[in-house]
Symmetry: C2
Subunit: 195 residues, 2 copies
Amino acid sequence: MTNNANSVNIESASHGKARYHHGDLRAAVIEAGLELLKIRGVDELSLREIARTVGVSAPAVYRHFPDKQALLSALAREGLRQLAEAQRLAAEKSFAEVGRAYVRFALANPALYRLAFAAMPDEFQPDGAAYEGSSAWLLRKGVAEMLPANATPEKHHAAAIHYWSLVHGLSMLMLDGQVDPDDDLINQVVGETIG
Amino acid sequence: MTNNANSVNIESASHGKARYHHGDLRAAVIEAGLELLKIRGVDELSLREIARTVGVSAPAVYRHFPDKQALLSALAREGLRQLAEAQRLAAEKSFAEVGRAYVRFALANPALYRLAFAAMPDEFQPDGAAYEGSSAWLLRKGVAEMLPANATPEKHHAAAIHYWSLVHGLSMLMLDGQVDPDDDLINQVVGETIG
DNA sequence: TGTACATCAGTGAACGCGCGTTCACTGATGTAC
DNA sequence: TGTACATCAGTGAACGCGCGTTCACTGATGTAC
């Protein structure tokens, strides 16, 4: 299921409770946090429940994270990584696919997606160390390729924000239940601007 | 400051604490809730603090709202009313102004705007009693006027959602600190699609 | 190979916190006769 | 006009809750000699 480098010694016992055995508790905590975000809203996610899920006492978490906020940042970081990865995969087909992949990722990971934007670490800001290769960066690059060669930097900026607003807005409206999460509609809305 | 029909017997004493005197406690609670949303996030807003602000015991609130959720719904309702009102005012100038007014309202009322979308009452859904005249309805109508006469219903739908996504997305990105809340940028992004 | 010691990841108990909500009550207001 | 009574908005005390975080601790692991 989770196939990234963070996989760790978690044993799903028959009664369904994950148990921590030894090894990298930090990674196990993050993995459990991601897992819980599939069934819990961001507000309902507690450090204690994550510890419980891992099979470890709550204070143990403090050996690896200074406080809850740091844990949430780590989860947001991982969410942003996964989102960017989904975009990269889609980009191999076409840029229009990227927008669709973006919205689909949000729909598939509501709480994680929300957390990523509510608690986005500073390093993902345009001047931050993680900006290059990030979700926002990929969108900006893709949009830039659609613009005429003589487009001004202002135009580039506005177009990038425009497209980001579009996919982010559609994602949020669908997540909040304002708009039916219909696949055809996603295609129409996201595909309208960019073929 | 607040100039709607909900104004009520609140006395702002010199020490800054509002006191409830008699009259419509329901309206006073809503007014205090709106006031607190200017300085508190949605998550930080508690029924007890609202009661404290009004100068009334917490259980008194239960005479007027079955539970906290109902209170939040009432606040969301009022936020949506104000947003629609801002759009109507802007619509007197041009439709492009509506989009700008929309984003500006979000920026001026971050918590209230978030609450409106996180806790939008059912009546504001397209088949609900409050849909006509609502923010979403106004956007849809404005967009419809920009479309060619022979546009299909599907096209109308997609265009409406498209524009809503754009302004909502830009609002959220700015509220979440992902995009600088720059007025020129708002004009460029919102004005790009619709002159 | 054996012993003394430092390190440090994890434990269980406890802290204070503010929350939403329930309860039995009080006391003002209005109505019936 | 006066009295008995019902209504009901608001009170203060209390409930149980799970939370984030701190604390003094234990016990396994590895290293120095």
